[in-house]
Subunit: 702 residues, 2 copies
């Protein structure tokens, strides 16, 4: 299917001193890309959507101490090819993904000093990806990169959905603003204590743009590997953005040996918001799986001993209140237990029993190991041990008990951001897991990074993340990483990377809450990089963080929490609440028991960022369809067009919906469950309460 064709222009430029522009159209013709060099020999590109300039000429280039891939260039050669292929993900929203693009590789050459650089563009019907390929040079081949020059010059004062630039965290609420209002929007953010926020008007990717014409653009990157994460420096008055590579603390962004190819810079483009959600562009730009035998990778639902620590009675991850205990040095069996430690044998058994009785695959236990007594990791060379259970956590017993009950225990590796010490312990930690029948781990990096030269998203940490995921794959371990560099579709290449946090998750419901709009923007932004461990399933929507007495009202109705299993798809999906809360609403819990986490097909039916999402998905392992619909703080009637159902068959829809008087703030736990006969072609009018949602299971009528 692959072929290569030299454009005529490609031949001509070799004899023409002035640069020759090159352009291509997307397969369907709606997007047009133009690449050129300007008078200074600076490579530029522009992007036209449906005949209108979306990105006006914007610079390309990379600046290293040793060489500048920025100007003095001419286009020497242009190779184009059309590719139309498909692939089958190990898990995901679709059983087959089409990868259809027109590729143009533009080779820029400069003399004095001699340099060359190829920018490879892939123009899909739903957007653009491009990356820099730096081949072996006649000059220096080891680079100290301090700046990437990539610009994204937009043509109007568009709407921006974004969070502040930050080298260390992405756990922010989202702003809906405009280019010119961005400074004001960013000024309102509180700084996270350990985090290194950037100055000025820097924002993070993934982010979303909406033009006055109703064109949506998701901006992100794909296949972030061997390079730092990209933030975006915004010039509000020029409607422009420029790449801002996360530096290490010495001010260097990337140390490179050529040949090297950067991650892809991506723009998902459509005037239909649903296309942004459906787009597989970021995954398509990642390499196929490096794991040959993927039979051990199993999507799952899991419960966790964790929410007790967030929501009350001063329960702790720590076994003792002796803040100065030292893992591996202190004899924990002689420590005074604090009596508020849920990761104990008896309590974990309760979770295993509940999971077993309800078909939940796994139980995560946080706070099971030595080291939680303090949180001073930046001043320590070791915070945690990954093979030393607390005295009250009988690991061999629980291992055997869980096995007997058909439940998988999930390991927790909180590193307190000492990535360096985690690497020291990694092989042994993973071996310890395998020796004890664990095959999934939740990793965490809360705090300031060690090595102290690094940020959460600097190059070294990107390398660290890949190291961990590769090692995990060797041990056949699945990973759900928290506080790691944000996902960029690498889960295609390493399908054992089931989920990441990398955004403000459900845990914040106990710490001020997430407004209903929050989960209406995440699928447009954060989720384009890969699945999120958002932790849906919150049935008790009013809580007190750590029992501090300040009640927090979650930004959700109960029914909406069920819908999140559809709108926030993940192959490692949490069932976040306490067993007793599920027992209180056991009829609603039936939906969580039923809902799959891996899909044959997905149809985005309705979508508007920050406002609403309605999606239908077909189970990968049955003919059942599931629908989820959510809205922001406004009530809404979703229109669910059932034409995705096979014709001429009869179905029953079991609808879990907000009760008529439900409201996220005043009456969040009011829901109804009803059955309706449905068939293809029908349109369901489904009411959603303010901050509410609906979840529907559609099965064939027998």
């Amino acid at each position: 299917m692959k072929f290569k064709q030299l454009l005529l222009a490609g031949f001509l430029v070799s004899t023409i001193l002035s640069a020759e522009a090159a352009d291509i159209y997307s397969p369907g013709g709606e997007l047009k890309l133009n690449v050129d060099v300007n008078a200074a020999g600076q490579p530029v590109y522009s992007l036209i959507y449906k005949g209108k300039e979306l990105v006006s000429p914007s610079r390309l280039g990379i600046q290293a101490d040793e060489t500048k891939f920025s100007d003095g260039f001419r286009i020497e050669q242009v190779d184009t090819v059309t590719v139309d292929r498909s692939w089958e993900p190990v898990w995901g929203e679709y059983s087959t993904v089409r990868d259809h693009f027109r590729e143009m590789a533009v080779k820029f050459v400069a003399e004095d000093p001699a340099r060359e650089m190829t920018v490879r563009f892939r123009l899909f019907d739903d957007g653009l990806g491009f990356r820099y390929e730096l081949p072996v040079q006649k000059g220096p081949n080891y680079l100290t990169v301090k700046d990437e020059l990539t610009e994204f010059n937009f043509t109007g004062n568009h709407k921006l959905y974004c969070i502040p630039g930050d080298y260390d965290t992405d756990e922010y609420l989202w702003s809906e603003t405009t280019f010119t209002d961005l400074p004001q929007a960013l000024s309102s953010y509180k700084r996270h204590s350990e985090a290194q926020r950037t100055g000025g008007t820097t924002i993070q990717t993934p982010m979303l743009i909406k033009t006055a014409d109703g064109v949506y653009v998701n901006m992100h990157e794909a296949a972030l590997d061997g390079y730092p994460a990209m933030l975006l420096d915004v010039e509000p008055d020029k409607f422009s953005m420029k790449s801002h590579l996360v530096p290490d603390r010495l001010g260097v962004s990337a140390y490179l040996q050529l040949p090297f190819a950067t991650p892809w810079r991506t723009l998902i483009v459509s005037d239909d918001a649903r296309d942004i959600l459906a787009s597989q562009l970021v995954l398509n730009l990642n390499e196929p799986s490096k794991i040959e035998d993927t039979s051990w990778i199993k999507p799952m639902k899991f419960m966790g001993v964790w929410w007790e620590m967030f929501t009350g009675n001063q329960k702790t991850w720590a076994y003792s209140d002796d803040a100065l205990a030292k893992p591996g040095i202190t004899d924990y069996s002689k420590l005074k237990p604090n009596g508020r430690h849920p990761a104990n044998t008896e309590n974990v058994k309760k979770y295993i029993d509940f999971a077993s009785a309800n078909g939940i695959d796994g139980v995560l236990v946080e706070g099971w190991n030595e080291g939680w007594e303090d949180w001073a990791s930046y001043r320590k060379n070791r915070q945690f041990l990954f093979d030393k259970p607390y005295p009250d956590f009988d690991l061999p017993y629980l291992r055997d008990y869980a096995k007997e009950k058909g439940v998988k225990l999930i390991m927790h590796h909180e590193t307190a951001a000492n990535a360096s010490d985690y690497e020291k312990q990694l092989d042994r930690a993973f071996q310890f897991m395998k020796d004890n029948n664990y095959d999934a781990v939740k990793t965490g990096y809360v705090g300031a990074i060690i090595p102290r030269s690094e940020h959460h998203t600097s190059q070294w940490m990107v390398d660290h993340a890949r190291h961990v995921i590769e090692r995990a794959a060797e041990y056949k371990i699945m990973v759900d990483s928290h506080e790691a560099p944000r996902p960029t579709g690498l889960c295609r290449t390493y399908p054992n990377w089931l989920a990441q946090e990398s955004a403000r998750g459900g845990e914040f419901e106990s710490m001020g809450g997430n407004p209903p709009s929050h989960t209406c923007i995440l699928p447009f932004t954060r989720l384009k990089g890969g699945p999120m461990d958002y932790t849906p399933g919150l049935f008790e929507t009013r809580m007190s963080y750590y029992g501090e007495g300040k009640d927090s009202q979650a930004g959700t109705t109960l029914a909406r929490q069920l819908a999140l299993y559809l709108t926030m798809p993940s192959p490692m999906q949490m069932v976040c609440d306490l067993p007793e809360n599920y027992e209180r609403f056991y009829d609603a819990f039936q939906f969580i028991k039923d809902v799959p986490v891996d899909w044959a097909d997905s149809r985005y039916l309705e979508a508007e960022p920050n406002r609403y999402i309605t999606v239908a998905r077909r189970d990968k392992n049955s003919d059942d369809w599931f629908v989820g619909a959510i809205t922001d703080e406004n009530a809404r009637t979703a229109e669910i067009d059932l034409s995705f159902l096979p014709k001429n068959e009869k179905f029953i829809a079991t609808i879990y919906e907000d009760a008529p008087d439900a409201d996220w703030k005043e009456n969040p736990q009011a829901y109804r469950i009803r059955n309706v006969d449905v068939k293809s072609g029908m349109k369901l009018k489904q009411k959603l309460a303010p901050g509410g949602g609906a979840a529907i299971r559609i099965t064939k009528k027998k």
Copy 2:
């Protein structure tokens, strides 16, 4: 043997507002230590030797961002104890080491804010060690240390033997200067390219002082663990020094959790230079072995495939000249070999054969693994693989061949200073060694450190070194570390740490040479921390570095190289030269075959820093005595008093000496071997050529 006694003063201070001084004498009474607080409540100490002030009142203290352990103090309690015990090292210069000292623990207490600190002093007959002990405080227990206040105020313009302060290297020639001439002496040093030298008049420890009265003082530290190395800031006109802790690149020296005890600051003191060499003070201040079963730790002599790469014909550690090859990514079997790679199967076999035929225990092979093609590690996330042999190094074959020949192969782990990547690979690298019958490794850290926040001797790297040595012990692997933080006697605690480089070694003979005085100062300075892998045994003393055509004349005669096995004792002693050079002087090589590397007893007979050393040692495994004598560039007649021999027995001394016309510069390879009947009480007058030496084996006459 241990007892504890509270001094009367200790009781009194609790009722006296002004500070009460405390003092102790060394067991033999020649050293007196006084500890006091001055008017500002600053702790101070002074040291009197034979009635004369050696160190005048000098401040003590530690400065952290969170708390200052510097002033406002009173002495609350003084505990003293006399200890006289002995211990048996796994290997070393003595089969038994006496540890005899008077200890005084002075507890300093301050209010507003409340702080306390104990300084523990141990006064030996041959010097002083003291350390800070920071117990759990009422205030902050996590510290960010930027300065240690320890002063050493001397009382005259003493002679100093020292090298420049440097965070990354200690491979310098030594200056013999004075306090006031120090700035001039330091200005003459060339800066190592990757190294971070300190500004001003900062020097390193270990260093040596000689007063006008002929008192020698070695200054160093013991048990460097969990803390950065200490340099010394010198104020030339005040004859004073102050602790300068190596910072990380963020400017922080130590991140601490209390309780914490610093390394010991040490002063070895005597007016007999021989006592400095004989002192075991630094080892005594280290903890006993943490390794219970030490039966696998075996002192050894070893040859190496390495000197070929230093001395000619452009031979290389690298297999190929393709500088851009990437370990683990490039297919090395398809690379073009450069044909100048000595670490190939056939050549290594030659070394194994020679070692086997001559009773040399091991063969080190450098350049056996993927990664040597470039030296750009600071711009890479991986330079070397530790389990991937080059295509021309048939590891399984050589493993079996060496075993058959009774020779141990020694692994080489050059990390190119990417300590962080070494930690990623460490467990697997050690397992790979054990799987292939290796049980000793030479580690290397050439270049600028990764993590990039660190220096070779900053706290993180000190932690790294301990991590490596502990892991090695778990795998029963012996370690010879190069470019690691300098030794401080930790080889007592981890006796698998057989040797370290940590100074300008024999390899520099090929790069400009080491003057004869160099090995006359190292035993007074560098060797007080532990054995050095100096690489003696150089028989071909004229060479061309890397075949570059510039002949280098080693600062030695051939006979002196034999003497170095005595004057530079190490349990992992190299036999550094090429087999063919030993075959040329095979009668002299007999001494290297005969000389042991582990000792029952040692007697320093003559010594003057930078001038000469004569030492006699008794083999741990026989009744043989061995004598080594070296001189500087001046000819000398050593007087070897044989009264150490058992009386009433007859011995034969086999003397390997400089020929009468020998001279390190003009005639270095002229030597003689003769046998002499000797007995206790005799005094041998042994002539040493300029830059020469003599080596003697004394065996019982049968």
